[in-house]
């Protein structure tokens, strides 16, 4: 009868049945179950049916599994290859997974120190161009009279048509400044007169002559223009060279 498996459930022999089916009952329990089956046809039927199911499943397993050869293509080698593809990341991950805590902390500290060093170096080198910018305005002033080689000289040489005029202007521009600072050469009265007649900006620029190296090119040009204009304004006054000639003549 088809309903007998239900009776097996009712008689609660299901667990014993599968244990007997798979040979996991002890000798005593197995003997007991055999005696039970003599009295319970449904259990006997069910055991036979389960046996056929097992045969089918094992047949499927045996037909399917041999198609993958573990010896020739071990999964480990595939897994290893998969991890090797991302070697750097995998190595890091492996390290941080397996390394002791103190080692991880030490590594993190070392990484931070390296980052700080790199940052310091980057800042240090990024400041240099600024320093060069501050210094470079000085170069044309020094380079022009001597005509020394260098980047600033090359740039100046590119604009040669204006160069001569600028040189002249710069020489003239520098003259009063140098003379104003040299009390031995320039009469004090003349120096005061020139400074007093100039705009405040020019006067400040002249007072800041020791710091002139830091002045930008634009400021120097502005200064040159202002000096030029002040010279134009003072065109009615005697020229410095004349005064020098006069003083030397009087001596």
């Amino acid at each position: 009868m088809k309903e007998k498996p239900e009776q097996t459930t009712i008689c609660a022999q299901g667990e014993e049945l599968v244990a007997y089916l798979y040979g996991e009952l002890g000798d005593h329990e197995a003997a007991q179950f055999r005696r039970h089956m003599e009295q319970c046809g449904s259990c006997e039927q069910e055991l036979a049916a389960f046996g056929r199911v097992r045969e089918d499943v094992i047949e499927w397993r045996n037909r399917s599994l041999p198609s993958f050869d573990f010896q020739q293509a071990p999964l480990y080698s595939n897994a290893e290859a998969a991890t090797q593809k991302r070697s750097a990341l995998a190595a890091l991950r492996q390290f941080f997974t397996l390394a002791p805590v103190w080692m991880r902390a030490a590594t993190a500290a070392a990484a931070l120190a390296i980052c700080a060093l790199v940052a310091f170096t980057a800042i240090h080198f990024s400041e240099r161009p600024e320093a060069m910018v501050k210094v470079t305005p000085k170069a044309p002033e020094q380079a022009q009279p001597r005509e020394t080689a260098g980047p600033s000289t090359v740039e100046i040489n590119r604009s040669e048509p204006q160069d001569a005029k600028e040189k002249q202007a710069d020489v003239v521009e520098q003259r009063p400044v140098e003379i104003a600072n040299d009390n031995n050469v320039v009469p004090r009265r003349k120096s005061r007169r020139q400074t007093a007649g100039m705009p405040v900006v020019v006067a400040q620029q002249r007072k800041a002559t020791p710091d002139k190296a830091r002045a930008s090119q634009q400021a120097r040009q502005q200064l040159a223009e202002l000096v030029q204009s002040s010279r134009d304004e003072d065109s009615g006054l005697p020229r410095l060279s004349d005064l020098i000639d006069d003083s030397s003549g009087s001596n």
Partner: protein, 187 residues
């Protein structure tokens, strides 16, 4: 001769021995693959699940506390991997097993040496078994696969799945009953 236990190999791997985990993989890859194949029914899926199992185990090596056996731990990971893969496959298609009957047909016919009619019959039967197994609920399927594909004892299954022994037996009984019903309808 490998005398070192799995648990000792895990300790070695944790202390930086790169080869130690490889030994564990080589020891268990076949059984884990068998489990994955029984659970998923396809070589490709089984291979992927096996690799993912060992990768997950490697990543979580520190999580292994030694409270259970390495084999139980690996089986648990493998079962979870299979369940995850099957869920994903269900999203893509109703049944991944039904997508590629020709793959298994090829392997079955290659293995068969009988007449074409018997080959066809064997293939049909094997396909029916595969469908029946794959149609089982996960909690039943994993037990019958562990039993039939890996030939684990009830005690080992109970340990691996952290289940009472009686639950393993009753689930196996239910699984066999359902398989019998399904396979009975196929003739």
């Amino acid at each position: 001769m490998e005398t070192t236990s799995d648990e000792q190999m895990v300790e070695r791997a944790l202390s930086g021995d790169a080869d130690a985990f490889g030994v564990i993989v080589r020891r268990w890859e076949r059984r884990i693959y068998a489990l994955a194949f029984g659970m998923l029914g396809r070589e490709e899926d089984a291979r992927d699940a096996t690799q993912e199992t060992f990768l997950a185990a490697f990543r979580n090596l520190r999580g292994f506390r030694g409270e259970a056996k390495v084999s139980s731990w690996l089986h648990r990971i493998a079962v979870n991997q299979c369940i995850t893969r099957q869920r994903r496959a269900r999203v893509r298609a109703e049944s991944a097993l039904e997508d590629e009957p020709e793959r298994d047909e090829a392997s079955f016919t290659a293995a068969a040496i009988d007449s074409p009619s018997r080959q066809a019959e064997a293939h049909e039967r094997a396909d029916a078994v595969r469908r029946a197994v794959s149609a089982l609920p996960v909690e039943l399927r994993q037990i019958i696969v562990m039993k039939e594909f890996e030939e684990m004892t009830f005690q080992e299954i109970a340990q691996a799945l952290d289940l009472p022994l009686s639950t393993v037996k009753s689930r196996l009984y239910t699984a066999l009953k359902q398989l019998r019903m399904r396979l009975g309808s196929h003739g």
